[in-house]
């Protein structure tokens, strides 16, 4: 019935999926997990504050790989949830928010996230659709670089599925003296983000960031309950070695 080789993967997936769902639903009954705060979120707060002090805008871009396919789409969703947080901060403290995006597929969500913060803080008069700019079909890097140099934002946030914009945008941000906040779960670009940014969302922190920032117990529980999977991996590492030492074919079991 199930393809050979996918039995265990499917089982583990559904178990984790169910655990996280149950933990999330339990949040509505007041059982909230405590999770640690992410340092890069503090960076966003500082960055927006600095932009307000200097009377300069904040620039947000969701990475150049925001396509509708596979992992890239999921990371874009995470980036958009961070945009909602940034928009809320900008509305609260009164900074102008510039958004550049490379693929129009996400325009409905990006526009909504951009507006949501201003509406929640009751500043809908400051919404300016011209601040959202598309740079389609491979012109994203060059477009953002020029926009940064022309508008001189105080804080540059580039999170999401970064393909080849990490160094370009990061170094341009350094050149205009902006605080650079980067983050991606695409591990091949992550080192370059670390190299060029002041604050970084490392890997999974990108997925968690929007939820942690929202402060909503439901979302916090989805983040916290992931640790079930991590403890599973930790236990499996130790147990696997022990079983292997006893001469059992643990690796064959793991690939049923």
């Amino acid at each position: 019935m199930i393809k050979p080789g996918w039995m265990l993967d499917t089982l583990i997936f559904w178990v984790l999926f169910a655990t996280i769902t149950v933990a999330a639903i339990l949040a509505r009954r007041g059982k909230v997990l405590r999770i640690r705060w992410l340092p890069a979120l503090e960076g966003i707060k500082d960055g927006v504050g600095r932009a307000v002090e200097m009377n300069q805008p904040v620039h947000f871009s969701p990475g150049a790989g925001t396509m509708l396919s596979g992992d890239w789409a999921t990371q874009t969703v995470a980036a958009i949830s961070i945009l909602a947080y940034v928009s809320r901060l900008c509305a609260k403290y009164g900074a102008r928010l510039l958004v550049s995006y490379p693929y129009a597929e996400w325009l409905p969500l990006i526009e909504e996230a951009y507006k949501s913060g201003f509406i929640l803080e009751g500043r809908s008069e400051r919404i300016n659709p011209a601040d959202l700019r598309p740079y389609l079909g491979g012109s994203f890097n060059v477009g953002v670089m020029r926009r940064l140099l022309d508008e001189k934002p105080a804080t540059v946030i580039n999170v999401g599925p970064i393909i080849w914009d990490s160094v370009d945008i990061g170094e341009t941000a350094k050149r205009i003296g902006a605080i650079m906040i980067g983050g991606t779960a695409r591990l091949l670009q992550l080192p370059y983000v670390v190299l060029t940014s002041d604050y970084v969302f490392i890997g999974e922190e990108l997925y968690a960031a929007g939820a942690v920032a929202s402060g909503d117990p439901f979302q916090i529980n989805t983040v916290g309950s992931q640790d079930v999977g991590k403890y599973f991996v930790l236990v499996m590492l130790v147990l696997g070695i022990i079983l292997l030492a006893l001469g059992l074919p643990i690796n064959a079991w793991l690939s049923i």
């Binding site: 080789g5 396919s69 890239w72 591990l187 091949l188």
Partner: protein
């Protein structure tokens, strides 16, 4: 205006170490440019040490038997052409020199990957250099298949359902050498992916890894963008069997084939620029430590 006086008062001439540590970009860039251009006029012709990965791929291709089908993927965006082209040219030449080996060429990355294929073909020039290799019998070109990762995975499960026709509109049934030899991805004797810059969770590279690597256990090789090679090492050598490291890898492969191609050209410039950058980093850090030493109060030195 009052501020200016204050600033003038506080302005001391910074130490030379501090100035060196806060250089502007242009001088750094200018020296880099010189190091890039010089080797083009005065090549050093440093020999390239051949790594185990290139030898593995070479031996695998050497061991291919007549009738084996090879999947050769051209999924790099056209902008990345300089990184991947030399490696693919070398590998394709080697494949074409083996009698009876059948090659399926395909790309998944984007419509512009077809331009990448066109450029490789212009260099290899099958009709002129390999006159006994016939289209439809020894190689076919499926063109760009859109759909990203999902398509890659589905192509591995059942190639001819996803690509029922080749680029020129001929049904694959008319090429029995391919249609009958390959039913699933497991039937490919060797799979070479070209678009390494997608990364492990890039939609084409990741698809190849998940299907041919994890699911069908094919002999999977990558023609890699050097900037992402670190990310693929976790899967080497159990799942990914070989990786060509960009132009350096291509130069190694060219050396195995005893030819001098585009890969070898880059090697000197690569050496020189790396020499410069390493020197820059090391010198900066020596100056940085010395600066820290100088800025300590004299008594505590």
């Amino acid at each position: 205006m009052e501020l200016r006086g204050e600033r003038d008062m506080s302005r001391k001439k910074p130490r030379w170490t501090t100035r060196l540590l806060n250089l502007d970009n242009p001088p750094i860039y200018a020296i880099l440019l010189i190091f890039m251009i010089l080797p083009l006029f005065y090549p050093l012709n440093t020999p390239v040490p051949v790594t185990a990965m290139a030898i593995d791929l070479y031996n695998k291709i050497e061991s291919l038997k007549p009738g084996d089908v090879v999947l050769l993927d051209f999924s790099w965006s056209y902008s990345f052409k300089i990184l991947h082209e030399a490696g693919h040219v070398a590998v394709l030449r080697h494949l074409l020199s083996k009698p009876g080996v059948k090659i399926v060429m395909v790309c998944f990355m984007g419509a512009d990957s077809e331009l990448s294929w066109r450029d490789v073909m212009a260099i290899v020039d099958i009709e002129k250099n390999y006159p006994d290799k016939k289209y439809g019998k020894d190689w076919i070109w499926l063109g760009y298949i859109p759909g990203g990762e999902a398509t890659v995975l589905a192509f591995a499960d059942n190639p001819w359902a996803i690509a029922p026709k080749d680029k020129y509109g001929t049904p694959i049934e008319q090429y029995p050498d391919f249609y009958n030899a390959v039913k699933t991805g497991a039937d490919f004797a060797l799979v070479i992916e070209g678009g390494g810059h997608g990364g492990v969770n890039g939609h084409v590279t990741g698809g190849f890894l998940k299907s041919y690597g994890l699911k069908y256990h094919c002999w999977l090789a990558y023609n890699m963008d050097p900037s992402v090679i670190a990310e693929f090492y976790p899967y080497y050598p159990t799942i990914i069997k070989s990786m060509l490291n960009g132009n350096a890898g291509a130069a190694e492969y060219e050396r195995l084939l005893n030819m001098r191609g585009a890969g070898s050209v880059m090697v000197d410039a690569l050496s020189m620029t790396h020499l410069y950058v390493i020197a820059l980093i090391v010198l900066t850090n020596i100056v940085y430590l010395y600066d820290k030493y100088l800025s300590k109060p004299r008594s505590s030195r």
